[in-house]
């Protein structure tokens, strides 16, 4: 196992390198640079800025800047944002926590509820439950998130006044967990709907498949009570593909949910990333990509290790 982890870590080095090169390359292919992004977005005034370009080192060719950036990163210096002048790590650090708070709650909610709905739909295939859940799930995948968010804002905030309209806590007040959770509820639920629908379908498919497999048939034949058959044999096995699907969603955990962040004014990585692209804040953009990638690689590795412990067959194979 240890060897496996070490090998995986070694393999991730070229992955990180290629990702950094691609991001740097693409970001620089987009016309404009940090200085041309400094103009007021409503205006189109602002010629000049060559002095500033020189000062920021933007007059160097792309590959040289990349090498400089890489060298600095290897010494642990992620640089400063071109716009706020703050250290990149500080900017990112500020956005990571709110992002993970929002996305992890949404992810857990979508996985747990999606699984339950899917399993029930499978157990009662072609029943009213099955159809109702399937149709609901399909509506879930088919409506754009921004529209759901608007609908939620309208009903829960404007009409019923149950939740605050924006932010992650009361601005200017002491941070309080209750206020934070109160702000969190609506965006997290709306965010979870999207992937919950997909999970429901995956869980249903997996469960249907498992229910027809030999070992479930065997378990039934052994005369085990139905509860044990479904609970122990079927459900546990149906869970595995769902875990795989969930690990595929790990990038989302750290990269944030732009549209939800935008609609509910949640301060997260999604908005930060888009700002970084629009403002051509190369250092921030690179920092974001690297941090997100590293986190995802780590999370994937962790998931695989856990998976190995969870799945008896993989364990046997060693």
């Amino acid at each position: 196992m240890q060897q496996y982890i070490i090998r995986r870590l070694l393999v991730s080095i070229p992955v990180l390198l290629v990702i950094s090169m691609m991001t740097y390359g693409f970001a620089n292919l987009v016309p404009g640079d940090p200085v041309s992004a400094m103009a007021d977005p409503e205006l189109m005034t602002g010629a000049g800025g060559d002095a500033l370009r020189e000062r920021l080192g933007l007059n160097q060719p792309v590959h040289i800047r990349y090498v400089i950036w890489l060298r600095e990163v290897l010494t642990g210096n992620f640089g400063y944002s071109y716009h706020s002048g703050e250290p990149v790590l500080k900017v990112i650090g500020r956005a990571v926590l709110p992002t993970v708070e929002l996305t992890s709650v949404a992810l857990v909610m979508s996985v747990v509820l999606g699984t339950v709905f899917g399993v029930v739909a499978a157990l009662r295939q072609y029943s009213l439950y099955d159809y109702a859940l399937s149709v609901a799930a399909l509506f879930g995948v088919s409506i754009p998130t921004f529209f759901f968010a608007l609908l939620a804002l309208y009903l829960f905030v404007a009409v019923w006044g149950l939740f605050p309209s924006h932010g992650m806590s009361q601005a200017g007040a002491e941070f309080s967990l209750v206020s934070n959770l109160h702000h969190l509820a609506l965006p997290a639920v709306v965010l979870s709907l999207d992937s919950m629908a997909g999970n429901t379908r995956y869980a249903r498919t997996a469960m249907l498949e498992v229910m027809q497999s030999d070992y479930v048939r065997t378990a039934r034949a052994k005369g085990l009570p139905e509860f044990a058959v479904i609970g122990r044999h079927a459900f546990q096995n149906a869970l595995l593909p769902l875990i795989t699907v969930t690990t595929l969603r790990l990038p989302f955990l750290f990269s944030g949910a732009l549209i939800i962040e935008f609609m509910f004014a949640w301060p997260g990585m999604g908005r930060l990333s888009v700002e970084a692209i629009y403002l051509r804040d190369y250092t921030l953009l690179m920092g974001l990509t690297m941090i997100i990638t590293a986190l995802v690689l780590g999370a994937n590795l962790l998931a695989d290790v856990l998976y190995a412990y969870a799945d008896p067959r993989i364990r046997v194979r060693g």
Binding site: M22, V135, F139, V141, T145, F147, P241, T244, L258, I292
Partner: protein
Amino acid sequence: MAASGAAGDVAAEVEQAPRRGRRRVWRRFRRHRLALLGTAILVVFTFMAAFAPLVTWHDPNDTDIDALRTPPSWSHVMGTDEAGRDQYARVVYAGRISIAVGLVAAAISTIIGTFLGIVSAYAGGWLDNLIQRAVEIVMMFPTLFALILLVAVIGASVWNIIFIIGILGWPGKTRLVRGQVLSLKEMDFVIGARAVGAGHWRIMLIHILPGVVPYVIVAATLTIAGAILSEASLSFLGLGVRLPTATWGNMMNAAQSLNVLKNQPWLWLPPGIAISTTVIAVNFLGDGLRDALDPRSTID
């Protein structure tokens, strides 16, 4: 994806499927009423989109500044939009773009994903390693992030957007397919085929591909929905298909306002229903296909 006995069954039976004839698949598909309904809806929508000029009587881009957001009437059956254009004509014409985005992008990602997944698992070794790293790399990029960056680089025409959405969707399918193939290739019939001296491409195409089709179809149907919605997200950011072309996504986005939500349902209901219906129809079709192709299906 873990290897399982179930997958072996699928493969074994699918292997026999061609011998039993396609007729059987069709028979089972036909029994799946929802799948038939889905197919019918898709056919109607595609037909309407393809022959849009015949089924509408307004130019979708013809504005009327004196009739903004008018409610449905005899001449404008779904009312007019925020620029005074006929909403019905726009929904129909928007179908052209949205259906194309959904189908083509899903096709691109599914073909690339399936191909690489099979090759990766079948070949193993350094090729497998390389493909898996590529999968990781593409998957690391948060989708919307990558979409914005790519659109900014190559511009926002319809085909560019289709291409970008398609090109970002394959890694998930590659993984899915690879997992299936890893177990399939240890099956007796594949080993047997190899022993008989069948070529690699032949084994992959004839013996392995059918085994992964049921899984791929379910994934692909969800991708269609994803692609249509990705286009909508791009519209939301102002990076979608260029003005004045209508898509269901940018029509939904144009209706994205509290006052419209409250007062002008004819602006968001038609495109919303169009998207939902299409997605649901595609999924029913996918379910039907899966059940029909899956030999263990109980409908028989």
